[in-house]
C-alpha cells in the first residue's frame, strides 16, 4: 500500500507524460504480483469495488474527531477524502498490502464496509489512507489514461504495445498472466473474439495533402458522433468506445440491433427520420447507467459503419481497405440489421473535387472528410500515412482577451491559458477559454503582453486590459446553462492574434448566438 500511495502521489504531481511513464514503469518493475496488477486496474479504471459513500466516511471520522475541528479542516482542505486522510487520528505503521485492501473491500457487504475501512485506516499513515479512501469512493483522478498505463507496460517490458492492447481487453485484474508474459513468460491463451480490438486512428491531413496521390485513397464523411467498435459472437454483444470502454449498458437499442456475428468499426449517432441529429442529442444518451424507453424514443441511436474487422469467421484486419470495404457491404446486406447503415464512399477524382465537397458540407453530423489508403491493413493506434482526417473549416470569432492564467509543466512560467469574451452591449462577457493554437514565439509575445497589461491579479490569474483581440477557431457552438454567456464552444483554440484590430470591433454575443447549431 505504501508503494501504491507513493505512486499515486507522484502521478498527481507530475505534469509531464514522460515523467509519468517513468513513475509507472518503475512501479511495475519493482512491485510484486498481485499488488501491481490491482494498482494497474485501479489506475486504468478497471477495478470495481463496492462504493463507500462520502457521508459514510464523514460519519466514521466524526466518531473519532471533534466535529467542529473536522468542519473547519474540511472547509480549509476542500476535499473530503484528503481531509479524512489527514485528520484521522494516529499514524498506523502496519499498512496492509494493496491486494489485501482490495480483497477485503471486495468481500465486504455494504453494512460492514465502514468498519473495514476504519480498521484499514487505523493501520496506515495519511498518504496510504488517502489512496485507500480514493479507492473506496471510486475515482483516483491521477491524470493517467488506461492507454498511458498500457504504454508504461510496453516501456518496462519491451513488449509490443499493440499486442498488449489486444490481450488487455480479454484479461481480468490482477493480470498475473499478462505480467508473467511481459517478463518473458508464455503469452496467455485467451479467447479474443469478444474482446475490444485496438482501433485505427487518423492524423490531420493539413500540410500533407499535396504529397498524397488521390488514386491511392478512398474518401468518406467523418460523422460527428462517437466512434465505436461493436462486437457480437455466439449470442454475446458488446459496444466499445475507441478507448475500449464498454458502453453496452447505455445503448440497449444498439445492442438489440446487433443480430449479426463479427466485429465492426463505426460511428454511433442519433438519427431521426433518416437525418443525423446534433451531437448535443447524442450527449444526452452518453454516460447513463439506465436508459428509459422514452429517452430511446426521443433520441434513437444508430450505427453507421466504416469498417469490418471480423465477419464472424475470419479476422479481416490484415486485408487491404478496398477488400474490407467490399466485404463490409456484402456482410451488411446479408445481415440486414435495424438502425444500421453503411458510411458511403465519397467518389472523387482530384483533391480539388474533394475540397469543393468539403466546403459545401454543412449538414448536421458531417465533421469533415476521412481519407484512407486503399491498400492499408487495419492496425491499432495512430500510424502515420494510411488514414487522414480532413476536418471542415472551423467556425471563427474575434474575441477580446479578459484573463490569463499560467500554464503547467514547461509552461508554468508563461501566461498561456486565456479567457476571452464577446461584447454584450457595453460589457464583455466571457465566452470561452483556449490554451493552444499559437506558436512558441507567439506564446512569448502573448506572455509579455499579459505582463505589461495586467490590471489586477488573483492568485495565478491576471485580469488584463480589454485591448487585445484574438481570432478564435472552434468546431461548434452549443447552448449552455452553465455559462453566463449561455453558449459553449467545442475545442476553442487561438487561430490568430489580431494585434491590429481594435477591441471595439470584436464580435458581439449576438453574432455568436447566430452560429448556434
Amino acid at each position: 500500500m505504501k508503494a501504491f500511495a507513493r505512486l499515486l502521489e507522484a502521478l498527481v504531481f507530475t505534469p509531464g507524460r514522460n515523467a509519468k511513464l517513468a513513475h509507472l514503469q518503475r512501479y511495475f518493475a519493482e512491485t510484486p504480483d498481485p499488488d501491481r496488477g490491482w494498482a494497474l486496474a485501479a489506475i486504468a479504471g478497471d477495478l470495481a469495488l463496492p462504493n463507500v459513500t462520502a457521508s459514510r466516511i464523514r460519519g466514521l471520522v466524526e466518531e473519532r474527531v471533534d466535529p467542529v475541528l473536522f468542519r473547519l479542516s474540511y472547509d480549509y482542505v476542500g476535499d473530503l477524502a484528503e481531509t479524512v486522510a489527514l485528520i484521522w487520528p494516529g499514524e498506523g505503521d502496519t499498512p496492509p498490502r494493496l491486494s489485501e485492501v482490495v480483497s477485503r473491500l471486495q468481500q465486504t457487504g455494504t453494512a460492514s464496509a465502514g468498519a473495514v475501512l476504519a480498521d484499514l485506516c487505523d493501520r496506515m499513515g495519511p498518504s496510504e489512507r488517502l489512496a485507500l479512501i480514493k479507492l473506496a469512493t471510486g475515482g483516483l483522478r491521477v491524470g493517467v489514461s488506461a492507454r498511458l498505463a498500457r504504454t508504461a507496460l510496453a516501456g518496462y517490458s519491451g513488449r509490443d504495445l499493440e499486442r498488449i492492447e489486444e490481450l488487455w481487453f480479454a484479461i481480468e485484474p490482477p493480470y498475473t498472466a499478462l505480467f508473467s508474459w511481459l517478463e518473458g513468460g508464455p503469452e496467455p491463451a485467451l479467447d479474443l473474439d469478444l474482446a475490444f480490438r485496438p482501433m485505427m486512428l487518423a492524423n490531420p491531413v493539413e500540410g500533407r495533402l499535396e504529397s498524397l496521390d488521390p488514386a491511392e485513397y478512398a474518401a468518406e464523411w467523418k460523422w460527428d458522433g462517437v466512434r465505436i467498435q461493436a462486437v457480437a459472437f455466439r449470442g454475446e454483444r458488446r459496444l466499445y468506445t475507441r478507448t475500449g470502454d464498454e458502453i453496452s449498458g447505455s445503448f440497449p437499442d444498439v445492442i438489440a440491433s446487433m443480430t449479426w456475428q463479427g466485429a465492426v468499426d463505426g460511428e454511433l449517432l442519433v438519427m431521426r427520420d433518416g437525418a443525423v441529429a446534433s451531437f448535443a442529442d447524442l450527449q444526452k444518451r452518453l454516460g447513463r447507467k439506465r436508459v428509459g424507453a422514452k429517452t430511446m424514443a426521443v433520441n434513437p441511436a444508430h450505427l453507421r459503419l466504416y469498417d469490418l474487422l471480423h465477419d464472424g469467421t475470419t479476422d479481416l484486419r490484415p486485408l487491404p481497405l478496398a477488400e474490407r470495404r467490399s466485404a463490409l457491404a456484402d456482410w451488411l446486406r446479408a445481415a440486414d440489421p435495424d438502425a444500421t447503415d453503411l458510411s458511403a464512399d465519397v467518389p472523387f477524382e482530384s483533391w480539388d473535387d474533394l475540397a469543393e465537397l468539403r466546403a459545401g458540407a454543412r449538414a448536421e453530423g458531417q465533421e469533415g472528410l476521412m481519407l484512407k489508403r486503399l491498400d492499408a491493413a487495419y492496425t491499432g493506434g495512430r500510424p502515420m500515412g494510411p488514414w487522414f482526417k480532413w476536418k471542415r473549416d472551423p467556425l471563427t470569432a474575434d474575441c477580446v482577451i479578459l484573463y490569463a492564467q499560467r500554464g503547467h509543466g514547461k509552461r508554468s512560467s508563461f501566461y498561456s491559458d486565456y479567457t476571452f469574451g464577446a461584447w454584450n452591449g457595453a460589457d464583455l462577457v466571457p465566452v470561452g477559454k483556449a490554451y493552444s493554437g499559437f506558436t512558441d514565439a507567439e506564446l512569448r509575445e502573448l506572455d509579455a503582453w499579459v505582463r505589461n497589461n495586467t490590471v489586477e491579479r488573483y492568485g495565478p490569474v491576471r485580469a488584463v486590459k480589454s485591448d487585445l483581440v484574438v481570432e478564435v477557431a472552434f468546431d461548434a457552438l452549443q447552448r449552455s446553462t452553465r455559462h453566463k454567456s449561455g453558449i459553449a464552444m467545442r475545442f476553442p483554440r487561438i487561430k490568430r492574434i489580431r494585434w491590429d484590430k481594435p477591441a471595439g470591433e470584436a464580435d458581439t454575443l449576438r453574432s455568436l448566438q447566430a452560429l448556434l447549431g
Binding site: 518503475r26 473547519l72 479542516s73 476535499d79 481531509t83
Partner: protein
C-alpha cells in the same frame, strides 16, 4: 475586539492598531507600522519592518535586519542576547529561543510576579540552523496558529529530505528546483541536506546568497554553494537549486534544464494546495509548529490564557476553550505565510 481583551486581569500586554503593545514598558512587539520603540521576535519582514526609532532584538536578528534593510533603517539598535534580562520602563524583558529561524525569540515580559510571553513564529522540531525552542511557563501565552488545524502534522524532516534525494536519483538529468523563503527555510534545507550526506554544491538564486553568507558568519556551515543565476543550463542538470517560490513560478525558472519544481513547506501537506502551487515534488518541511506542537506547547506553558495572533485562529481557540483555557483571536493584520 478591544473590549474582549479588557478582562479583570491587569495584563502587561494589550492590542493596538500597530500590534501588541506593552504600556508599562512603552514598546510594541512586532509592530506592523513604524513606532518609537519596537521589540521584534525575528527578522522575517512581516515581523520586523523598517522605520522604528529604537529596535531591541537578538544580535542575530539585528544582523539579519542589517543585511536586509541597511544600516539606516532604524534610529537605534540594541542587542539582547538569549537569556539576558533587560529592564525596559516598568517591566523586565528577556528573549528566549523560539526555534523558528536564526535569532528568532520569544519575548518574555515580566512585572509584579506576572509573566506574559509573545512567541512570534515558532516550531518544536530540531533545526540545525537555529537554537531550539525553550518552554517558558507563563500566565499569558501569545501563539501563532499558521498550521492551527488538526490536518497539519509535519512528518519527520529526514524522510522528506530522503524523498528529495531519491527523486534526484530517479531523474538524474533534470534539475531539482526547490522553492524556499530566503531567510531560514533555505539555510535549514541546506543543513539538512548536508546532514543527510549530500555534498555537492547547492545552487542559489541571488536573493538567497547574502543570508546564506550571514548564516556562515554565525557558525552555521552550509558547505559548497554556487550561483544559479549565472550558471549555464548544462551545469544545473542533476543539481539542486534553491530559489524563492515566486522566481520558480516565473521567468527566472526558464534558465533551468527540465526542472522538477519542489515545494518545501507545511502547506504541502494538503495535496490540492500543493498542486495549485505547481510543484511536482511536495516536501512537507515547515518552520512553524504543526497542530500537535501547538497544543503541546500551550499545555506546557501552563498559561491560563491564550491569545492567537494569526493563522487558523478559530480552530485553536475552539480547542483551548474545550480545555477550559481562555483563548482569544487577535486577527493581526499584515501577517503573511512567510513563503511557507
Amino acid at each position: 475586539m478591544q473590549n474582549a481583551l479588557c478582562s479583570k486581569t491587569m495584563h502587561l500586554l494589550s492590542l493596538t492598531p500597530e500590534g501588541i503593545y506593552c504600556a508599562r514598558g512603552g514598546f510594541h512587539i512586532d509592530p506592523v507600522r513604524p513606532v518609537r520603540r519596537a521589540v521584534v521576535t525575528h527578522a522575517h519582514a512581516d515581523h520586523c519592518r523598517p522605520g522604528h526609532e529604537a529596535l531591541l532584538a537578538t544580535p542575530e536578528t539585528l544582523a539579519i535586519a542589517g543585511v536586509r534593510y541597511g544600516a539606516e533603517a532604524f534610529g537605534s539598535k540594541q542587542a539582547l542576547p538569549y537569556g539576558e534580562r533587560q529592564k525596559v520602563g516598568d517591566v523586565t524583558v528577556s528573549l528566549v529561543p523560539a526555534g523558528h529561524v536564526l535569532g528568532s525569540a520569544q519575548v518574555v515580559v515580566e512585572a509584579d510576579g506576572r509573566r506574559e510571553v509573545v512567541s512570534g513564529d515558532y516550531k518544536r522540531r530540531a533545526d540545525p540552523s537555529c537554537a531550539p525552542f525553550e518552554v517558558v511557563t507563563c500566565d499569558l501565552f501569545v501563539t501563532e496558529a499558521t498550521f492551527g488545524l488538526p490536518v497539519f502534522t509535519h512528518p519527520p524532516v529526514e524522510g522528506e529530505i530522503a524523498r528529495l534525494i531519491a527523486s534526484r536519483t530517479q531523474f538524474p538529468e533534470r534539475c531539482h528546483a526547490v522553492g524556499t523563503y530566503a531567510l531560514g527555510k533555505a539555510q535549514r534545507l541546506i543543513m539538512e541536506l548536508r546532514a543527510a550526506g549530500y555534498e555537492r554544491p547547492i545552487w542559489l538564486h541571488g536573493a538567497l546568497t547574502k543570508l546564506c553568507d550571514l548564516y556562515g558568519e554565525w557558525g552555521r556551515h552550509l558547505g559548497p554553494l554556487a550561483q544559479a543565476t549565472v550558471a549555464e543550463a548544462k551545469q544545473l542538470q542533476g543539481e539542486i537549486v534553491l530559489a524563492p517560490p515566486g522566481a520558480l513560478a516565473d521567468r527566472w525558472a526558464r534558465r533551468l534544464p527540465d526542472p522538477v519544481i519542489v515545494g518545501a513547506s507545511g502547506w504541502m501537506r494538503v495535496r490540492q494546495r500543493a498542486k495549485q502551487r505547481g510543484v511536482e515534488l511536495a516536501l512537507v518541511i515547515s518552520d512553524h509548529a504543526d497542530w500537535p506542537e501547538l497544543i503541546e506547547t500551550i499545555a506546557e506553558t501552563q498559561a491560563g490564557e491564550i491569545w492567537v495572533t494569526h493563522g487558523a485562529e478559530e480552530a485553536l481557540c475552539h480547542y483551548c476553550t474545550g480545555l477550559g483555557i481562555q483563548a482569544r483571536p487577535l486577527s493581526l493584520l499584515g501577517r503573511e505565510d512567510e513563503g511557507e
